[in-house]
């Protein structure tokens, strides 16, 4: 099996994997970064969202062989102490119910607010449309993004 050098959360990891292995499973099974969640495997639910060079992307669709030289950030690397504005806002609003989708929601919201620090309600809804919350915490997600935008 080939070896790939991946830069994840500012650390370099050398992983051995088949070319077609999705980043999602490298993170979860090989590097023990399980905050990135599996939900659908086809880029429809957003649970596996990570940042690639600052852009929100679905790690279930990214192959390990495409990622050398890029900067990968997962929920574990979003902030030193879980205190990024989006994470703080999530705590303040108490967004999660089951909590499973929330790292993906937070990663999508963080990348979005970097691009658009002062979004309208419809911009928030458009940006978050790819992330499913089965518990339907959507009202709280919207509120938390507005709170984060003010931080």
């Amino acid at each position: 099996m080939p070896t790939f050098n991946l830069k994840i959360n500012n650390k370099t990891y050398s992983v051995e994997a088949d070319m077609d292995t999705p980043l999602l499973w490298i993170l979860r099974d090989q590097i023990d970064l399980v905050g990135t969640k599996y939900g659908c495997g086809i880029g429809q639910c957003g649970s596996c969202t990570v940042h690639i060079d600052g852009n929100a992307m679905r790690s279930c669709l990214l192959l390990v062989s495409q990622l050398e030289g890029m900067s990968i950030t997962t929920i574990e690397g979003l902030s030193e102490n879980g205190d990024s504005p989006v994470q703080e806002a999530w705590k303040e609003i108490d967004v999660p119910q089951c909590g499973y989708c929330q790292s993906g929601q937070i990663m999508t919201a963080s990348a979005f607010l970097k691009r658009n620090p002062n979004p309208s309600e419809s911009e928030i809804r458009n940006a978050m449309h790819g992330n499913i919350c089965r518990c339907a915490s959507y009202n709280s997600i919207e509120k938390a993004i507005k709170v984060a935008a003010k931080k």
Binding site: V34, K37, I42, Q44, I75, K91, G99, H129, A136, Y138
Partner: protein, 717 residues
């Protein structure tokens, strides 16, 4: 889900239990005296030494409290709210409380189930008793040190004070207290003295959730563990004839392949290899029993509704006579599809079966039942089975059924390895225990402008409504009332789905009442209020709901929604329902955009007694309402020759943020004992929306999902 079973947790057995667990349990020492009181939980509890107080409570010498939450956490918030009940009566500061998930423990805990919206209702007395008993023991210990009467001592936030103003922290007396006799007849607080119950407490796992810590079953790992992906029959009714696994064995990381029954498990060193290996299996299937399609189900259920094979669950008066004598009869049929649960965390479970132990870890709503099933299946003693419950990425009823745990245990047993079974999304959606397709026929008779008869007939796949439902509204309100059920036994597996049966029945009945009021030319709200008058003071003990409380939520919803006073272009629909011991009324606001309805807002008035944790409660209600709307509008699983026609989120629609209304939640101010919130907000939502769509378009929707082509055509015309 068995609702409303009386709690098997008598005061006597509780006291025995705590004496057993607390008796003889000593001793902590001052390892952690440096622990400052302002350390914010979660602190590293491995660094603290605790006294086991009883099965629920540990207190360290420093006054830090660990409370074990007995019931499984599926997102309904009991890991926060159940410990709140204990902490309230223990009288400690919430900041000093660390909450841990209790393991499956049939000796010390009862009813370790997440289902039926019953955790808080059943826990209300015993959990507060637990806290109050421990508090009394701490007081007794302090009083003994001071040589004063315990009744002269008071507590506040973990500190005991005597009449002289001397103070002792719980941590200072816990070692003494834990060997005292367990007192009986401890007094519980007056509701007006609550400081924790009724306050907004954040989800106890929030810090770990927002930082991506391993919490869920899918995150669980053990040294040497293999991942298993299981090939199951593609169609309900299929059996495995033969399979070929050369391709699967060629996948890097695949370690072992094993057949069990009609399934084949591929074991690998990582999830991806296991899934790839499974997809590389080639199998021949044959028909073991007849495969079924949606058209067949539709016809079968409609035939059942027309036929005579009903069982009568409740019969008041003489429905036939009322219909014979009626001036007008209104009759409608309402239809629902199968629904998968689609927990966002797919089914998974860890098992390690050795000669003398069965270790299970994972997300399960029914640990006790599952432990028994696994023991029976492997022909082992139940005492060998341990279960650690992880946080669950959703349950909705799917995780009541331990089929995934059974699979893990069987595979581990066959391969002698620690194994975690992981469902892919496709596995999860196509090997479900679905909400069954159900059809209702409702008929009402009107004589001299009065509602004289009501006849509800249910035809369902596999099962019928459980026994209490026929006693829900409008039972008792109409002289001639009958509920009949019939079912067809299918080979498609079905089961409880968030608010079983009522999740669709509420839509049918509350859509029907909207049309009934129109037919009778009376106000739809007034019709409900008038019917409820008939139930007040009833001597019929079977009646499950309270007419006063239903009236209360109706009036609150009307007031808060601005019923009848909306802006032009906003259309409202009303719905009210009682289930799982909770009374709910909802008003949906709908606008039309390019001929299609958009739900902009739902006002929800709810009477669940005392609201234990308003923050979590609002989350439950909001989520339940949106979940109800999402499935009423989009949820649809059909079958073709036994094969589910949707298997992932590209061909099965779950509601997304852009389709979501704002939910405005109002709780009835109450000092009644609390009831559940996980399910009751969901059932009324579909009818509120359908009735608003009627107000907007003049078209009655009778079939879910509303956004199917057929129903959209109905709206657009």
């Amino acid at each position: 889900m068995t609702p409303s079973k009386q709690l098997n947790f008598s005061r006597r057995s509780f006291l025995k239990t705590s004496a057993l667990a607390g008796g003889g349990m000593l001793i902590s020492f001052n390892l952690f005296t440096a622990c400052k009181s302002d350390v914010k939980p979660p602190i590293d509890i491995s660094q603290l030494n605790f006294n086991d107080f009883n099965a629920f409570i540990k207190i360290s010498n420093e006054g830090k409290v660990t409370i074990f939450s007995p019931n499984p956490e599926i997102g309904q918030g009991v890991k926060t709210s159940m410990p709140m009940l204990i902490a309230e009566e223990l009288d400690v500061a919430w900041k000093d409380v660390y909450v841990a998930q209790g393991d499956y423990d049939p000796v010390n805990f009862t009813r370790q189930v997440a289902g039926g919206s019953q955790s808080i209702r059943h826990g209300w007395e015993p959990l507060r008793q637990t806290g109050a008993t421990a508090r009394q023991m701490l007081i007794n210990a302090a009083a003994a040190i001071w040589e004063v009467d315990p009744s002269t001592c008071t507590t506040k936030e973990g500190v005991i004070t005597n009449a002289n103003g001397d103070k002792l922290g719980y941590g200072e007396v816990v070692a003494d207290a834990s060997i005292l006799e367990v007192p009986e007849n401890v007094k519980l607080k007056d509701t007006k003295d609550f400081t924790i119950i009724g306050s907004n407490i954040s989800n106890v796992d929030i810090d770990n959730i927002v930082t991506g810590k391993p919490l869920f079953g899918l995150d669980y790992k053990q040294e040497g563990m293999l991942y298993a992906s299981v090939m199951r029959p593609p169609a309900f009714g299929n059996v495995l004839e033969s399979f070929e696994d050369n391709g699967a064995r060629a996948v890097n990381g695949v370690i072992n392949i094993v057949q069990f029954g009609n399934k084949v498990a591929v074991l690998a060193t990582n999830t991806w290899a296991a899934m790839k290996g499974k997809n590389a299996l080639k199998a021949n299937w044959k028909e073991g029993s007849k495969t079924e399609s949606t058209a067949f189900h539709d016809k079968t259920l409609l035939d059942l509704l027309k036929g005579n094979s009903f069982e009568t669950l409740r019969k008041d008066g003489n429905v036939k006579k009322a219909f014979d004598e009626a001036d007008t009869v209104l009759e409608r049929i309402y239809e629902s599809p199968f629904l998968p649960h689609n927990c966002l965390e797919p089914m998974n479970f860890f098992a390690h079966v050795t000669t003398d132990k069965i270790e299970l870890v994972g997300p399960i709503q029914t640990p006790a039942w599952t432990a028994q099933r696994v023991a029976d299946h492997l022909k082992r003693d139940i005492k060998q089975v341990s279960i650690k419950m992880t946080r669950m990425g959703g349950g909705f009823g799917r995780r009541l059924y331990g089929d995934f745990a059974l699979e893990a245990a069987e595979i581990s047993s066959l391969t002698n390895s620690p194994v975690k079974v992981v469902f892919s999304r496709e596995d999860d959606m196509s090997a479900g225990t679905y909400r069954p397709a159900i059809k209702y026929k409702i008929a009402a008779s009107i004589k001299d402008g009065k509602l004289t008869g009501y006849h509800l007939k249910e035809a369902a796949i596999n099962g019928n409504m459980y026994g209490l439902i026929p006693n829900f509204f409008p039972a008792g309100a109409i002289d001639n009332y009958q509920v009949d059920v019939a079912n067809y036994k299918s080979n498609i597996t079905t089961g409880a789905w968030r608010a079983p049966y009522t999740n669709f029945l509420a839509f049918a009945e509350q859509s029907f009442f909207d049309e009934l009021a129109q037919t009778m030319e009376v106000d739809r709200i007034q019709l409900h209020l008038d019917l409820l008058q008939n139930v007040k003071g009833t001597t019929d003990e079977r009646i499950e709901y309270s007419p006063e409380r239903l009236e209360g939520v109706i009036k609150l919803a009307i007031e808060k929604s601005g019923w009848g006073k909306t802006n032009q272009g906003v259309f409202q629909g009303f719905s009210v329902y009682y289930c799982h011991n909770t009374h709910v009324a909802e008003v949906a606001d709908v606008i039309m955009d390019k001929g299609l309805p958009i739900v902009t807002k739902v006002t929800c008035a709810i009477d669940c007694g005392i609201v234990v944790n308003p923050l979590g409660a609002i989350n439950q209600v909001t989520g339940g309402v949106i979940d109800g709307i999402g499935h009423a509008m989009y949820g649809d699983l059909s079958f073709n020759q036994g094969i589910p026609q949707s298997n992932n989120f590209d061909n099965y629609q779950l509601i997304r943020i852009g389709q979501t209304p704002k939910v405005d939640v109002h709780f009835v101010d109450s000092d009644m004992a609390p009831t559940g919130l996980g399910e009751p907000p969901l059932p009324p939502a579909g009818a509120a929306v359908a009735n608003a769509i009627y107000a907007a378009t003049g078209k009655r929707l009778t079939k879910q999902p509303f956004m199917s082509n057929m129903e959209i055509e109905k709206i657009v015309g």
